[in-house]
């Protein structure tokens, strides 16, 4: 590496300089140092922007979560140190529910999305024509503003004129107020989420499928494996890193679950669909309790980072080092 970054003008790259002649041009160390400094100069703007918008506020958030913060008209005041914000949220049944809800919601939606997404990908892989069109179609829900999809599903679930109400009525299931009771509101929100995100999972899995070399399948066929065995013994194991990646993306998104419940249910009925992000936002911007709000936000972030690390550990152990 070092040798290739020396410009060719520094003529004899190997071998000692002729005796008596001072080495003027070929000074790899100085050159490398210059390049390194240049590298830092190039990276500095990015580090600066990312630093002031993320690292500084994160530190600030941790500080806020550990102190009495009071808000005034002109600004804010950071008071004395306290663990109170954390003990407050840990004891709060609303926070406990929000944590449980976020976890359960994530697990169920991710499993369903993975199953459906893998099915769709397996179907599309076998398509002879029109795969490009299908990919394009699948990208539309991915690029859709979540608020739009939430409004759309709110219209579908509307108790007086929603199409879902009409469908359920037609199926002889009566006319439940879908967003009015806890369980049906949660299921309704999951369906909206699954609709928007399954295509995203399908695309990732499809790309993973297309990376599997064809000769593996040919070998399996020579050995007389049927398609079921081929899937579980060949496709699935080779697909595991891709699936792991999709799961990671989805879990991270799920801990940010905010737009959909905010628009579709406002966290209700009661607290039934209050995710951690919704709760944090409510506590901070409706109740203006920035201390407890910061404690909710910080603990959520901590959960995400710890979860991510654990996930990468397991994932790395499974697929070997070359992936990360």
């Amino acid at each position: 590496m070092a040798v290739t970054s020396i410009p060719p003008v520094t003529a004899p790259p190997t071998g000692p300089a002729p005796p008596g002649e001072p080495l003027i041009v070929g000074r790899p160390d100085a050159f490398r140092r210059r390049l390194a400094r240049l590298g830092w100069e190039f990276t500095a703007p990015a580090l600066f922007v990312v630093g002031i918008v993320t690292i500084f506020p994160i530190v600030f958030s941790v500080v806020m979560s550990l102190t009495h913060v009071t808000l005034s008209v002109s600004g804010f005041h950071i008071g004395s140190f306290t663990w109170g914000n954390y003990s407050l949220i840990l004891k709060s049944s609303t926070w406990q529910y929000a944590l449980g809800f976020t976890v359960v919601y994530t697990v169920i939606t991710v499993i369903v999305e993975l199953f459906l997404g893998t099915c769709i990908a397996l179907v599309l892989e076998r398509l002879v024509r029109g795969r490009g069109v299908m990919m394009a179609l699948l990208l539309i829900p991915w690029s859709l503003i979540t608020v739009i999809s939430a409004e759309l599903w709110a219209y579908i679930y509307d108790p007086s004129f929603g199409i879902a109400d009409r469908l359920l009525h037609g199926l002889g299931l009566g006319s439940p107020t879908i967003l009015g009771s806890n369980v049906s509101a949660i299921i309704a929100m999951m369906i909206a989420d699954i609709w928007k995100t399954t295509p995203f999972v399908a695309i990732i899995v499809l790309a993973g499928l297309m990376m599997i070399p064809q000769d593996v399948y040919e070998a399996a066929e020579v050995d007389g494996a049927n398609s079921w065995t081929t899937f579980w013994r060949i496709t699935f194991p080779l697909l595991r890193p891709t699936i792991a990646l999709a799961v990671l993306f989805r879990v991270l998104q799920a801990f940010n679950l905010f737009d959909l419940p905010y628009v579709l249910t406002s966290g209700g009925p009661g607290h039934a669909t209050t995710s951690l992000a919704i709760l944090g936002h409510q506590v901070m911007f409706t109740d203006l309790s920035f201390g407890p709000g910061a404690a909710i936000a910080t603990s959520t972030a901590l959960l995400v980072v710890v979860g991510c690390f654990m996930f990468l550990r397991v994932f790395r152990a499974q697929v070997g080092k070359e992936e990360l």
Binding site: L38, I120, M135, D165, I204
Partner: protein, 277 residues
Amino acid sequence: MRTKRRYGWHRYINIITVATTLTVLFVALPILWMIISSFKGPSSINTNVILPDPWSTANYHTAFVQYDFGKAIATSLIVTICSTALVLGIGTLAGYGLGRMPMRGKFPIMVAMLMISVFPSIAVVAPLFLIMRTIGWLNSYQALILPYTAFNLPFAIWILRNYFLGIPKEMEETGRIDGASPLRTVWSIVLPQATPGLFTAGIFCFTACWTEFLLALSFNPTLRTIPVQLSTVGTIYEAPFGIIFAASCVAMIPIVILVLVFRKSVVSGLTAGAVKG
């Protein structure tokens, strides 16, 4: 194509066709429902009729004349385009520095960037809000451009760095011999080779900024972007769905066009992690 479906090819084609049709319906029906409903006038929007009767463009008119959706789209465009341009500019430099320069501490920087990109934005919304309130930035373009730039930089740097790693070193050296400045080398030699990476990073940044809700809602309650404007029209008891859908259909156009044109870039971005780790 695989050859294992030599037994029962016809049977297979049927299953595939049925499944593909189901997929199309699953994805397209709700969107079609929205587009159709945007043409339902006041007399048919709040009923359970399927097709508008009569077809009306009144919602589009109301959305843009009465509800300021034109302004919201303009705000979203300004914020999104500025953020994307900044991300690509700063991200190219950083990606080049981290990819090609013999710096110490590259690895910790990349790991830190990766961790920052997974951080939930709820964790920074409160402190950023307080800071922006103190310096009087609430309801300004920069209140969104700055955080959007920061949150989208890590992914852009990651993608661009991977592209830069693949460009042969000899090309840069040629530039250096010819006496080009480092910036000039990046601009005229390295960047043209990384255009697919620029497209990928750009489209992801654009989509993320266009759809972002939490920060826009918290920092800019009056200088509204589209998602905020969509969520604030109407009351908790009644939402003017026709108007919302009309505005949504218009708001979908730029992003759908971009995503369809740069389809390959999007897919390569989605799978970048799977390929490169």
